[in-house]
């Protein structure tokens, strides 16, 4: 169970990285970033897994609760990630207005 979830998380992370490295569309870059973040969050959440655990709501009915700490991290990190994505999209709108394109390889006015 646990190896599968960790493995999935890492696979999602790698897909995100691959997306960033190989796609030229800015939106896809942002999607890649979200995927990477999702992978990391899955990793964190998986680490809170308890066999047969119940949600961490008092009173713990029916057994051991799962680890609540990763959940709180994940909540925090999700919000932060959402903020990042929102900002990135706002920048893409501005970039599209300036450059008329969302091709990442064409947005290189600053170099050298």
């Amino acid at each position: 169970m646990l190896p599968i979830s960790y493995g999935t998380a890492i696979v999602v992370f790698c897909i995100g990285l691959y997306t960033i490295l190989s796609k030229r569309n800015l939106f896809k870059t942002v999607i890649g970033l979200s995927l990477m973040e999702g992978g990391v969050l899955m990793l964190i959440t998986s680490s809170g897994y308890v066999p047969g655990g119940v949600p961490a709501l008092l009173p713990f009915a029916g057994g051991e609760p799962v680890n609540p700490l990763p959940h709180s991290f994940t909540l925090t990190a999700i919000v932060i990630g959402a903020a990042d994505v929102a900002l990135a999209l706002a920048f893409i709108i501005k970039i599209h207005r300036r450059y008329g394109t969302v091709d990442i390889d064409k947005i290189r006015g600053l170099r050298g």
């Binding site: 960033i20 870059t29 970033l33 990477m36 973040e37 990391v40 990793l43 964190i44 680490s47 700490l69 990763p70 991290f73 925090t76 990190a77 932060i80 903020a83 990042d84 900002l87 990135a88 920048f91 893409i92 501005k94 970039i95 300036r98 450059y99 947005i107 006015g109 600053l110 050298g112």
Partner: protein
């Protein structure tokens, strides 16, 4: 004074400025100034209060989030408040108080900076890094009218987000391996983690901080952002923002990685040397004065990373001392070059002829700052370079030390170009002229700061303080004991 106030004061500023805008538009300027003074004073009081540990919510350090003040924190709090105050005054003169959202972002980044410096919790560090970075992307992109600003802000955002992700992975692995987040406790339990986990933790944290601080290979955003941003923002980026990430690197290196292995410090030395060389060599080829300064910042970041990589108290002393020197000099350089570039309406060095006649004091200040950065004796840059060289020699890091001294010659070479231009023949058209009284005053104060810092090794308390920073920081056990007492 409770350390948290150093974080809360700028937060309060950021949260109230919109209310002032909605209800009392005229007071925004006053509020910005007052909150600026308040934030700087709070941070300085916290720094002056000496060592302290406080835990949010009154819990034990393991349960809550601890804020820790020790000598390293003190040094960087002072650095941040000096830098932010200088930049705020320059921004107030350059932008006026119309763009109040800019000031909101400014204070948010100030709060986050103080948060990064004070926090003793790894996840909290990440959260503050995010506030800090988001605010940084936006102040770089201000005003969002020029394409350079937008492109630089966007690239900074992508780099920053990737860096934050690496930081998050590092923190996640550290948490997965130990179940702890307090840095003091982690310093105890993390070395027990398996080898592979440890290398993921250290590698990801190091690379994340490399990206945030502009160390090779994460330096690509830095020249774009520094050269595209407005002058006060460039000064702030170079003077404070980069240093904050280096603070985190110092803290984590000696707390979490120090116990692990010597190889971490080898990596720091290696990448620091590469950064130093690349920064100098790239600055050598720039035509744009702000880009030149930006690449020089890259080189100086490399210098500080080398100092950290020396893994000794002397190295940390050199790093902190150099951070201060670079803050004073590079902020001054950016402010002066901003004024001069405005006079010529161009950032091209070739266009800057004859400015010495036009603004002699600014140009002389430029020469002073440039000499300080290049490490010409007996200015402050030379003193910290000497500290660094001695630390490197003690560590046996000969190639980095040789790179540092070679960098002196290179940086003298490329700083001579704008200086020659300033003193050279004037252009035909008369330059624009707008008085810059506030910027002038700040530049004068920064020049004074440079001179004071140059004397630091000869002023007993300052020297003792600098050495104490190194000793306390390297001694991780002392930190752990103080937090967990």
């Amino acid at each position: 004074m409770n350390p948290v106030l150093a974080i809360v004061a700028p937060f309060l500023a950021a949260f109230t400025i919109p209310l002032f805008f909605v209800f009392r538009k005229k007071w925004v300027g006053t509020a910005v100034i007052l909150f600026g003074v308040l934030s700087a004073l709070t941070a300085l009081f916290v720094a002056a209060g000496g060592e302290a540990v406080t835990v949010m919510g009154g819990w034990q350090p393991e349960v809550g989030i601890a804020l820790v003040v020790d000598s390293l924190t003190t040094a960087f709090l002072i650095l941040a408040s000096l830098g932010f105050s200088a930049s705020l005054s320059a921004a107030a003169e350059t932008f006026g108080y119309g763009p109040w959202r800019f000031y909101v972002l400014f204070f948010l980044s100030w709060a986050a900076t103080n948060g990064i410096i004070l926090t003793g919790d790894l996840f909290n560090l990440f959260v503050f890094f995010e506030i800090f970075s988001v605010a940084a992307y936006l102040v770089v992109a201000y005003p969002p009218r020029s394409w350079q600003a937008i492109e630089a802000g966007f690239k900074y955002l992508i780099f920053g987000t990737v860096g934050a992700l690496f930081l998050l992975i590092g923190i996640a692995y550290a948490f997965m391996a130990t179940g702890q987040l307090n840095m003091a406790i982690l310093a105890r339990v993390l070395p027990r983690a398996p080898e592979a986990t440890l290398s993921v933790v250290i590698g990801c944290l190091v690379v994340g901080l490399f990206i945030k601080s502009g160390t090779v290979p994460g330096h690509f955003w830095l020249p774009d952002a520094h050269s595209s941003a407005q002058t006060p923002v460039s000064a702030l980026l170079s003077g404070v923002f980069v240093k904050v990430s280096l603070y985190a690197l110092i803290r984590l290196a000696f707390l979490l990685f120090g116990s692990a292995d010597d190889r971490v410090f080898f990596v720091l030395l290696l990448f620091g040397t590469v950064t130093l060389c690349l920064g100098h060599l790239m600055a050598f080829q720039q035509e744009d004065i702000k880009r030149l300064l930006a690449y020089s910042t890259v080189a100086q970041v490399g210098t500080i990373v080398i100092a950290i990589g020396c893994a000794s108290s002397g190295g940390v002393t050199a790093a902190v001392y150099h951070a201060f020197n670079h803050m004073a000099a590079k902020m001054g350089l950016f402010l002066v070059s901003g004024v001069l570039a405005e006079d010529r309406a161009s950032r091209d060095i070739a266009q800057m002829g004859g400015l010495f006649r036009h603004r002699p004091l600014f140009v002389l200040a430029f020469c002073l700052f440039a000499a300080s950065i290049a490490g010409i004796p007996p200015l402050n840059g030379f003193m910290s370079k000497w500290f660094l060289l001695v630390a490197a020699a003690e560590r046996g890091a000969l190639i980095p030390a040789a790179a540092v001294v070679a960098g002196t010659v290179l940086s003298a070479a490329y700083y001579l170009r704008p200086i020659t231009a300033f003193f050279g023949p004037a252009e035909t058209e008369p330059p624009h002229h707008r008085p810059h009284p506030v910027t002038g005053a700040i530049v004068a104060l920064l020049a004074l700061l440079c001179l004071v810092l140059a004397l630091a090794p000869y002023i007993g308390p300052l020297k003792e303080g600098l050495l104490a920073v190194g000793r306390d920081t390297v001694n991780g056990a002392r930190y752990i004991e103080r937090v967990l007492r």
